[in-house]
Amino acid sequence: MRRFFTPVFYTVVILCMLSVANTYAQTAGKILLKGRIIGSKDKLPVIGATVVEQDQDKRVVNGMATNLDGEFALTVSDVNHKLVVSIIGYKTASFSIGTRRVFNITLDETSNELTEVNVVAQAQVGNGTGLNIDKRDLTTSTVTLNAKDVEDLAATSIDQAIQGRLPGVDIVSNSGDPGAGMSIKIRGTTSINGVSNPLVVVDGVPYNTSVPSNFNFATADNSQYADLLGIAPSDIATISILKDAAATAVWGSKAANGVLLLTTKRGRKGSPSIAYSFKGTSQVQPSGIPLLTGDEYSSFIPEEFMNVTGVPLNTQSAKEFEYDPLDPYYYNNYGQNTDWIAAITRKGLQLDNNLSLTGGGDKASYYASVGYTKQTGTTVGTDLARLNTRLNLDYSVSDKIHFTTFFSYSHSKTLALYGQPGDVRSTAQTKMPNSSIYEYDEYGRLTPNFFSPASNVQGQYPGTYNPVAMALAASDVTLSDRITPHFNLRYNITNTLQLNSDITFDISNGRDGSFLPQIASGRPFTETNVNRTTTSDYDTYAVLTKTSLIITPNLGDKNSFQGLVQVSSEDDRQTSQSATTSNTASSSIMDASAPARTASSGLSIGSNLLQSRTVSALINGQYKLLDRYIVNVGLRIDGDSRFGPGKRYGYFPEVSVRYRLSGEEFMKKFSDWLDDFSFRASYGHSGSAPSKPNDGNYLFYSNYLSTSTNYLGLAGLAPSTPRLDNLRWETLKSSDAGVSFVMFKNRLNVDVDFYRTRISDLLTDIDLASYTGFSDVLLNVGTLDNQGFEVFLQSTPYKSKKLNIDFAFNISNNINALRSISPYFATQTGDVTTNGNYLQVLQLNNPLGSFYGYKFKGVYKDADATVARDGSGAKIISPDGTPVQMRFNYPTTDYLFQPGDAQYEDINHDGNINYQDVVYLGNGSPKFTGGFGPTFTYKGSITLSAYFNYRLGGQVINQAKMRTSNEYSYDNQSTAVLHRWRVPGDVTDVPRALYGTGYNWLGSSRYVESSTFLRFQSITARYTFNKSVASRIKAKSLSVYFTGQNILTFTNYTGQDPEIGQGSGIYQIAVDKAVTPPLKQYTIGLSASF
């Protein structure tokens, strides 16, 4: 515990010392000043004006307010100080004291109140560490988005807001469910250990976005980024993305996947300003894959069954297909046409309210906001309610000392469906459509009970259940609270030396309760999946400290320098507890706190404690000569508790330069149209520490754990992992070259970047050969290269007094290649001899994400078509004169293809479809991604903006199509199977139905589709009322807008949505599993400030 406090202690000591240091200057001596204050126009006394003594650093030494007669009497300590008088409505006046003792002051009224003070100088971005660097002097590849650009979107989170708007940043939504996160990739695949999300830094402090990975969250993976939701989009001032390693190196070991810098809004000097915004969004679930109706299904299944055995399905034993009106129970319960997808889908609604208050004076300024979001998901049973508040306070004690506190709190309640995300929807997709939602009794009368039989021909829970019962009666409720107090102190030691110290506490806790009632699983009461409940709690507690010394010496006009030395530390602790019990007496006793059965297989209680710490030191400096030559150099050293001694410290150097050609003398002649023309180049390192559930923080130990059960009353111990002596940092080395143009008085901005990134010592979890006795370990396995380019263009092609047209465009490309791989890593996966699998091979110097399979050629239309043919198309005849039939995987499987079976191309014409006929089918990574869109502004009051995003190239495996047309089980199928082969001579591309046998859905080109698309992502129309209208409701400004999102997608893709994220792990294929696709959303919004 003591060690933990060390860095905290030092930080506090520094804070105290600084505050004390400043008070030394005080000297004793009492001087009394008196006076009266009147207004300049009415000559009446000014009541309540603040009269203060201020020292040369503008620190307030003493002060008071004027009385009812406008009089004051103030003791001051030093005659060299100043007397300052201020009150709202009057101009502030300042006087030297000297020998003067009586001050009769006339204050001037401020003529008319300022509407709003906009402090928009040159945008300052920096790398988030504390250096303030003009955007035009940036040496690294960084993009910034102002909140203004995204405020109209119906985004519940930042990630949604920036989707498709920044070059080189590929964001794909995990699903359309409320609270589900996004996967963010900056410049292609970097890490392959599953974690590719960037580091998020809020107001200069890293923001942890992961819940404890061992935490028994049904949705742990998908909700990683849902935590980002804790920050309301309306609180964001800017979002910057650091892309190259020179920019990210200053963030060291966490930055290999890029850095997302967010700054929140701060108070401004001026009278209080209240802003209110409202957004109401209607969400519509796009129509999915058309499925068979109950009637179509119940004629399809008996045929599927009979094709295998040659005998009709026995409807005495499979009463689900009996359709006998004399047996009303089965006739009614299995005689319906239920659209299960429709039954669990509804129209979603999202309401956002945000209220903020900003203001401030000389000394202090504030920004306070409160927001409330309520979202009703498009799937029945999904819901989100979130409250978040933020208070940012700035207080200048003097010119020297400046305090800032950022205080944010959010509370959310997420209602999800029981089980993994998407489970219920996928069960609804395959659930037999002839069964009823609610049960009919034996007389054929509809009852209000869910129809959840213990088992039927489709199987039993968890394979199949009643999706409506699951959506309505089962539940998964997550409550989470997060509070992040952040204190910052800035101390200007001298004009050129500044000390900046931060301490942040990040405390979050959550509770998840999931419940599976008997009425949903339908199972008998002796089983543990009846009234099964899991309740879990987690707490995370992080303390981050950061202290930096910033030097900005005055080197004259010709050159300038900024330098920074920083030490920081982080301590993360996560604890969690969970309990799983089952078999409470009623489907309405839903919490694990109720006494219930606990001791049985599958039921458990658990607890976990994980801790990790890092310390780092950073030196960073930026030097500028003649406004033309800029160089930035940095070095960060990170120590991380997750590595063993000897491997603990990582060094992350960085150098970047910018050369402003337009600043040269000979370029001056172009200066009337060329504002800026610069070259940038950079090189830097960043890294990744290991991350793995459970023991992820202690992998360099081999940990002996107790076994979960005793043997003969004795407790056992077994090592859970081998000791990882060789675990080291995954290092990313990146170089970047770029050009920036600014032309025609800022009307055309172009940034072009080329980059090349090498990730060595790739950390990934590898499957070990089983004879090692362990299943998997985390190893540094190989080297991966990424390279590509990004173009970002922003222009104002037309500008007049009435109409402004802006146009933005971005495109990026990324190619990766594997350069080396550990011999322990399986370079091949996927079994081409069983249905549904694609072969995936890792090949050196080739991109990741390629997959291989058979070439689908349609369906054997009759017996003649199944005869094997040689290269010239002639039939292959065996020595005894009979034609040879096509076979599959001779001799191991040796299946003879029958008429109606899927036909695969026999590449080598040997009459045998096997691994030798497997060909390249595609690669999941897109060639180009990007977006573009115009904005029209008419008379400053009407704005119309549209945004398109696109992806070119890349292939997707349409697994949803595979699953809904494999004709292999009792699962419901898509209407495509209505065209299936039935009798010899049928020419079709859908094979015959075959229950549980055959090779009709091998991994083949049949399910591979191009994922190229162009999406009309959003359109926004905004009307800003003019001042006179606004003032009628006492508002300073008022505007309304309408936004449509995900309006139209142009694609040849036949699945629900072509925007599929690449899979995790090294194989990286893109598979469409068709969970809730991105929704169509229509938003009406209003914002007003007072």
Partner: protein, 480 residues
């Protein structure tokens, strides 16, 4: 600057964190309690890991089981001997996990003796014997099921120890098994002082019983008979009398006088068999005419072989009753499914000796032993055979049939068939092909027969995962 310097100094201390949920390896192997924990960890592995495989590897390919309503595709493929390297049932990882735990104890236990003065070498030897024996048993399962397998006897403690092994020929593996058992035999304790531990953990007679089985497998009949005689001569075991309580004593309660090595499932750790055989959607059913193997008495319906009705098969629904029944008329509940898994019992020792006798030219001794089993079981005259004492073929058939009746669904059938079939260069392949005709679905019989005639196909393929992960592993011949 001072504070910075101080921070840097305390960095290393600050960064030292240890997991709170276990004992790290640098603090392990210090006390005898930790040693005992590590040994019990091995048994726990036996209990939870490969339990499914004991049954599926030993029974599914043989003639007694047919698919039930809840059968999976992998299981159907095993039953119809259509086995691919990707079939989940050929996954051997649970066996190697236990082998690695044994290797750990064998490598590191002797060091505890110097660190913990309260540990005696007798106790240490007992622990070592347990590790050697269980390692041998695991390799014995592997070599019988896969033929050539990778052989490792060194604990993988760190990523520095990672190696990529090739397969070792089965003769080498068998040699290792015999050597391990020979090492274990003198070290093993005679008793732990209570019945449950003597049946549930390795004692001297456990080692000897496994030795008998291994010697029989490698056709070393003299050593097999010698090992059997040691167990018989120990006087610890006998047959449970074939009375009304027979089923209850032997299978329901367990740890009977007959039990030699039984996995001790209990209310805390249930066996996995309930979901296999439970009546709603069983994965496996008994072959429908299995009852014919036991014959029947036309005159007296109550005169039955005690091993037949409601033990091997519940005739009404073909369900396999040994592990799920409490009495002939009632089932265990799912939360009371803790019938022991019996690796070896005394009847097995008697019949192993009988089999060795047949092949050692002692036909009459063999018949006497078989009759001892039959008498206890009230076997019916319809199943009695009268082979000549020198007719090895007929004696073997009789013995295999009797073993089938005695050990139905105890995970022995396939190994019995294979062991007797492979003797003398597969002279009795008919045992396997006849078996295939019984339980393989009619559609697949021809292909199953052709596969079984290729003796390479009698062993499982190396799991595809391991082929992928280790370039040195070569797939078994039939599956290439």
């Amino acid at each position: 600057m001072v504070t910075m310097a101080m921070s840097v100094c305390s960095c290393n201390k600050f960064l030292n964190l240890r997991p709170q949920n276990g004992i790290t390896s640098d603090q392990f192997w210090q006390t005898k309690e930790q040693l005992q924990g590590a040994v019990i960890g091995i048994y726990n592995g036996l209990l939870t890991g490969p339990a499914v495989n004991y049954f599926e590897w030993g029974e599914a390919r043989a003639d007694y089981v047919t698919p039930g309503a809840g059968v999976s595709v992998d299981e159907t493929n095993i039953i119809s001997t259509n086995i691919l390297p990707t079939n989940g049932i050929v996954d051997w990882s649970a066996f190697y996990r236990i082998i690695n735990l044994c290797n750990n104890v064998i490598d590191n236990a002797p060091g505890v003796l110097t660190r913990d003065k309260t540990l005696t070498s007798t106790v240490l030897n007992g622990y070592l014997a347990e590790a050697y024996t269980i390692r041998a048993l695991m390799y014995f399962y592997l070599v019988r099921s896969f033929g050539d397998v990778p052989l490792t006897t060194k604990y993988l403690g760190s990523d520095n120890d990672l190696v990529q092994l090739a397969k070792s020929p089965k003769e080498v593996v068998e040699k290792q098994i015999i050597s391990d058992l020979n090492t274990a035999e003198p070290l093993a304790v005679n008793t732990y002082g209570n019945v449950a531990s003597d049946k549930g953990r390795v004692i001297k007679t456990t080692v000897q019983t496994i030795q008998a089985d291994v010697y029989l497998w490698v056709d070393d009949y003299a050593d097999c008979i010698a090992a059997c005689d040691k167990v018989i001569g120990s006087g610890k075991y006998g047959l449970v009398p074939g009375d009304a309580d027979w089923f209850n004593n032997l299978y329901v309660v367990g740890n009977s006088v007959e039990g030699i090595f039984e996995l001790q499932y209990d209310a805390q750790s249930l066996n996995p068999f309930y979901s296999f055989f439970a009546t709603t959607r069983p994965r496996y059913l008994a072959y429908i005419n299995l009852i014919d193997n036991y014959s029947f008495d036309e005159l007296d319906v109550n005169n039955v072989d005690i091993r037949s009705y409601d033990v091997a098969i519940h005739a009404a629904d073909q369900s396999i009753y040994k592990y799920i029944a409490r009495t002939p008329t009632s089932l265990r509940t799912s939360d009371a499914s803790y019938a022991h898994w019996i690796f070896y019992r005394y009847a097995d020792v008697l019949l192993m000796k009988a089999e060795a006798c047949i092949n050692a030219g002692r036909g009459q001794d063999a018949l006497d032993l078989i009759n001892q089993i039959r008498t206890r079981a009230h076997a019916l005259p319809g199943t009695e055979q009268f082979p000549g004492v020198d007719d090895k073929v007929a004696l073997t058939s009789y013995l295999v049939a009797e073993r089938g009746r005695e050990f139905a669904f105890e995970g022995k059938r396939w190994y019995d068939l294979l062991r007797n079939a492979k003797r003398d260069h597969f002279a009795r392949l008919d045992l396997l092909t006849d078996a295939a005709l019984i339980s393989v679905p009619p559609l697949n019989v021809q292909s199953a027969l052709s596969r079984l005639r290729d003796t390479n196909a009698l062993y499982f393929p190396i799991p595809q995962l391991d082929i992928n992960n280790d370039p040195n592993l070569v797939q078994n011949p039939f599956y290439k």
